[in-house]
């Protein structure tokens, strides 16, 4: 029982792969599926660079075994944009200089993609607390918070626009 076949969905695509049971989900996504946007910054669950969304919840993919994702639906940074159209978070990070080296960025984007679904109108304090779960060594976080607030506004506008009365 040191290898298994697993089936899972990543960014809407189904995969079936044979995998060593000790492989982490992060290594599986990166090496086996070639989805290298998920980064490894510490491999002990602190930095958050490897954060992906599994079955709707943000999780550290370095602290999960690939076999634990059997049957799961995973979203990674590669699945965030809609084709060539960036997700509002991606747009806002670009607009507000919410990234520098970009290494922590995929984890932060996925954390907030999940967070904003649960908190469509977060307070500044809630944004800060959510961001505290990811380490960034370049930006000093201030522009990330700005970007998230901008994305919130944009997403709210989008929702209002889609409503029956329009914007």
């Amino acid at each position: 029982m040191t290898e298994r076949t697993i089936r899972l969905s990543v960014n809407g695509r189904e995969y079936e792969r044979r995998v060593a049971v000790r492989w982490t989900l992060a290594d599986f996504l990166r090496d086996e599926l070639g989805l290298t946007g998920t980064h490894l910054g510490c491999e002990h669950g602190v930095c958050g660079a490897c954060t992906v969304v599994m079955n709707g919840a943000a999780v550290r993919s370095c602290l999960l075994l690939a076999v634990q994702a059997q049957g799961a639906e995973i979203r990674t940074v590669e699945g965030l944009a809609d084709g060539d159209t960036l997700h509002p978070l991606q747009e806002a990070f670009w607009e507000h200089h919410g990234l520098q080296c970009g290494f922590c960025t995929p984890g932060i984007l996925m954390s907030f993609a999940c967070f904003l679904e649960e908190h469509p109108a977060p307070s500044d304090a809630e944004i800060r607390e959510a961001l505290a779960g990811n380490l960034c060594r370049c930006t000093g976080y201030v522009n990330i918070e700005r970007a998230v607030r901008a994305a919130v506004t944009k997403l709210a506008g989008g929702r209002a626009g889609a409503g029956p009365t329009g914007a």
Binding site: H39, G41, H44, G140
Partner: protein, 772 residues
């Protein structure tokens, strides 16, 4: 002409980084790739009896194990900065043969089919090491009984750096007041989010060795590798990848930068090594650890009459390529923005059995600023003056520029080129709203809360020469490519250089692409460090683009039968002034300049030009910081309520990027002030090898309010763009400003802050000691 320079344009790097399409060294995919792991010394000081890889080699999946004996004779890693030849004996070997000198020193390389197996194999390496006595604290490294790390040198004193001006002894003797202090800066370092890593592939047919991963100064690293391997330089190609932060540490030539390419030349397939987080703490340069004993002679009004410093710097176990930068710059920048006629600084650089040190963002400036700015607050306290006024009393006036400090940095005199320190300081006071802050402090104290205000004033240095290269090419599709000798470290160089090029050439920003860090495409380059890329690299791009512009205009003049003086090149189109429908695009002109086309007399074919921008002196940005903090004297917790940076970096190329550098540096500085320390036990074992123990700031530690004001009051006179470097200034003042604010908050207890980080334990210890 300044359509892009000065504008907060969005970064060209970002779309790929935001979509997971960046290519960091761990993301490069090559067929048959092998994975390396490194066996590291578990002991801080030991004689190597035997390193046996035979059990590891027998593990299925293991391709090779290389132990010290397998390497043959390899020279140690050189440094350009060693102050004396005898120190060659203390350079780090890629893998030691008879002695290890710090925990984490490489002792074997394992190569396997995947990293999991490689790590399994590490556990099967049999290393017999005979423990030796340890220098676990550099302060005891010069004691007669201390074990000697490098017997060939015969002492643990690597060097003594001395800088002085005037007659300090007399000035001190005659000073009305003399105030002493003793301060320590803790060992800490840059800790980028991505560890180091490299991938090396050897093509047996052509003999070409390709190395991906290292950045910062690929040309120099290629030269070092060529020398160490004894291999032709033209057969080695370095290719920079995206990197997860630099901060001075990444891109030094480390042991792995030899070991992995060396291994690749002996393997059937390419090999990659990725430094994991635990290795990173053990293997990558540490920095900053210093102890200072300082004294100032002052007049009753706070005028600084004399300044002395006896300091000791912990070098770690070897002299690494940038080991001497921090101690050198510490002495160079101790005087800071103040006019000090008499000073004497002496810095002993001492070996210890710890990870060797190198540069971390703002080397020497962070340390010297902490010491000087703390001492100035002590002076104010002793004299009963406002620390604001003591600073005002001593600033070098704008009219005194250029100002020779009298110190040297890297052997060259420190001469501040431009700056109005007083104006920047007053601006910082306004941004803080000093009066309101002091009122808030007084009100809080009535409620039993402890707020404090602290300042720190800094002169930074940037734009290290002696040259940088740029080649600007317009290809036949009209696209502009800038080949730069600088490096990308996440700072946005692909954007800033494109802005400079677009303006200088008259191209559209979206048509400009910056290529950097590939020795196969860029014959000569120096790189990105010491906040030099915009200053030196940007100036090279500016000049090269101007040459291309001139060439384009000359060709256009001929084709349009117009006078060059009547032509306008804008947005990638040349038009005749007043006749907008007569136009040629850069695409047209690039085609017209192809070899074989008729060209103006004496003109070389190709719409392209190369420029090497030479610069002799560095340029000096400056910054004035103010911090408002609250300290809980019952728990020792420090919260930063407001942090103000007023910085002057000359002319800005991209304000968005400059702002990002300032805030990012500031938060790193908060880490140094409050959280970060590479702690060793008394036996020389590193205790902080995880992110649970080495604490980086998170968003929760951010100041409640951050104000960054970047002024452009003092453009650099030394380069055509007027720019000064912005990469390091943000971090420099922070430990000092926060420490001064914490001491101010706890003034009712009469504490003196002498050491960092200001952990709750240390702060409460200060309060407790004051009550005894």
């Amino acid at each position: 002409m300044s359509r892009y320079v000065g504008q907060p344009v969005r970064r060209k790097e970002d779309p790929r980084l935001l979509t997971g399409s960046g290519r960091y060294v761990g993301d490069v995919r090559l067929g048959g790739l092998l994975h390396a792991a490194i066996f590291r010394s578990p002991l801080p000081h030991a004689r190597i009896v035997r390193v046996d890889g035979s059990r590891a080699r027998a593990l299925p999946g293991v391709i090779a194990v290389f132990a010290p004996g397998d390497l043959g004779e390899v020279a140690p890693i050189p440094t350009t900065l060693a102050p004396r030849p005898a120190l060659k004996a203390c350079f780090q070997p890629p893998m030691p043969r008879d002695r290890v000198r710090y925990v984490g020193e490489p002792l074997a390389v394992v190569v396997a089919t995947d990293r999991y197996v490689a790590e399994d194999a590490l556990e099967l390496i049999d290393a017999e090491l005979e423990s030796l006595p340890v220098v676990a604290d550099a302060r005891r490294g010069l004691a007669p009984e201390a074990p000697i790390l490098h017997e060939a040198l015969g002492t643990n004193l690597a060097d003594r750096i001395v800088m002085s001006r005037g007659d300090v002894e007399r000035a001190l003797r005659e000073a009305p007041r003399r105030i002493r202090g003793a301060f320590a800066v803790q060992r800490h370092t840059g800790v980028p989010m991505e560890g180091r890593g490299l991938l090396a592939a050897f093509d047996r047919g052509t003999g070409v060795l390709t190395v991906w991963g290292p950045t910062k100064m690929v040309h120099r690293n290629r030269s070092i590798l060529a020398d160490l391997l004894g291999y032709p330089e033209h057969l080695i190609r370095f290719i920079e990848t995206d990197v997860g932060g630099g901060f001075g540490l990444r891109g030094e030539f480390y042991p792995e930068d030899f070991l992995i390419p060396w291994a690749a030349m002996r393997l059937p397939a390419p090999v990659r090594w990725l430094e994991d987080r635990r290795e990173h703490f053990l293997a990558t340069n540490h920095s900053r650890q210093q102890w200072h004993e300082v004294e100032m002679g002052v007049a009753p009004d706070g005028a600084i009459l004399a300044f002395t410093d006896q300091a000791l710097v912990d070098m770690g176990a070897y002299v690494r390529p940038n080991g001497f930068v921090a101690p050198d710059r510490t002495a160079a920048f101790l005087p800071g923005p103040y006019r000090i006629e008499h000073y004497a600084f002496e810095i002993a650089c001492v070996f210890s059995n710890k990870t060797p040190v190198g540069s971390y963002r703002g080397p020497g400036r962070v340390e010297s600023t902490f010491v000087r700015e703390r001492l100035i607050d002590l002076v104010a306290r002793e004299l009963g003056l406002d620390p604001v006024d003591v600073r005002r009393r001593n600033f070098i006036e704008a009219g005194a520029m250029p100002y020779a400090v009298g110190t040297t940095a890297h052997g060259r005199p420190v001469v501040y080129d431009s700056g109005d320190y007083r104006a920047a300081f007053e601006a910082a006071l306004r941004e803080l709203d000093l009066e309101a802050a002091r009122k808030r402090q007084a009100e809080a104290r009535r409620q039993g809360r402890y707020l404090g205000i602290g300042f720190a004033c800094v002169v930074d240095s940037s734009g290290v020469g002696p040259w940088e290269s740029a080649r600007v090419v317009v290809d036949r599709t009209g696209q502009v490519v800038v080949y730069s000798g600088t490096a990308g470290l996440g700072q946005g160089i692909e954007t800033t250089l494109a802005q400079v090029c677009a303006d200088a050439l008259g191209a559209r920003l979206e048509d400009v692409t910056v290529v950097h860090g590939d020795t196969g495409l860029i014959p000569f380059g120096i790189g990105s460090f010491g906040s030099r890329a915009a200053v030196v690299g940007g100036s090279a791009v500016f000049e090269a683009a101007r040459k291309v512009r001139e060439k384009a205009v000359r060709i256009a003049a001929r084709l349009l039968e117009a006078d060059p003086g009547d032509l306008v090149l804008e947005d990638g189109r040349v038009t005749v002034r007043g006749v907008p429908d007569r136009a040629l695009t850069l695409r047209d002109l690039a085609r017209a300049a192809l070899p074989g086309q008729p060209l103006p007399a004496g003109m070389e074919p190709g719409l392209e030009a190369t420029h090497y921008f030479h610069i002799t002196d560095v340029t000096y940005p400056y910054g004035m910081d103010a911090a408002l903090v609250e300290v809980d004297p019952e728990t020792g917790m420090v919260r930063v309520l407001k942090y103000v940076i007023v910085a002057d970096v000359g002319r800005m190329i991209n304000p968005l990027i400059v702002d990002g550098q300032m805030v990012g540096g500031m938060v790193q500085g908060l880490g140094a002030a409050l959280l970060e320390e590479l702690a060793y036990d008394e036996g020389g074992q590193l205790l902080t090898t995880t992110f649970m123990d080495y604490l980086l700031p998170t968003a929760a530690e951010l100041p409640a309010e951050v104000v960054v004001r970047v002024t452009e009051a003092a453009p650099s006179p030394g380069n055509p763009l007027g720019v000064k470097g912005a990469g390091e200034g943000g971090i420099i003042a922070v430990p000092a400003a926060v420490a001064n604010a914490v001491e101010d908050a706890l003034a009712p207890f009469g504490v003196t802050v002498t050491a960092l980080p200001l952990s709750p334990d240390r702060v409460l210890g200060l309060v407790r000691a004051s009550r005894r």
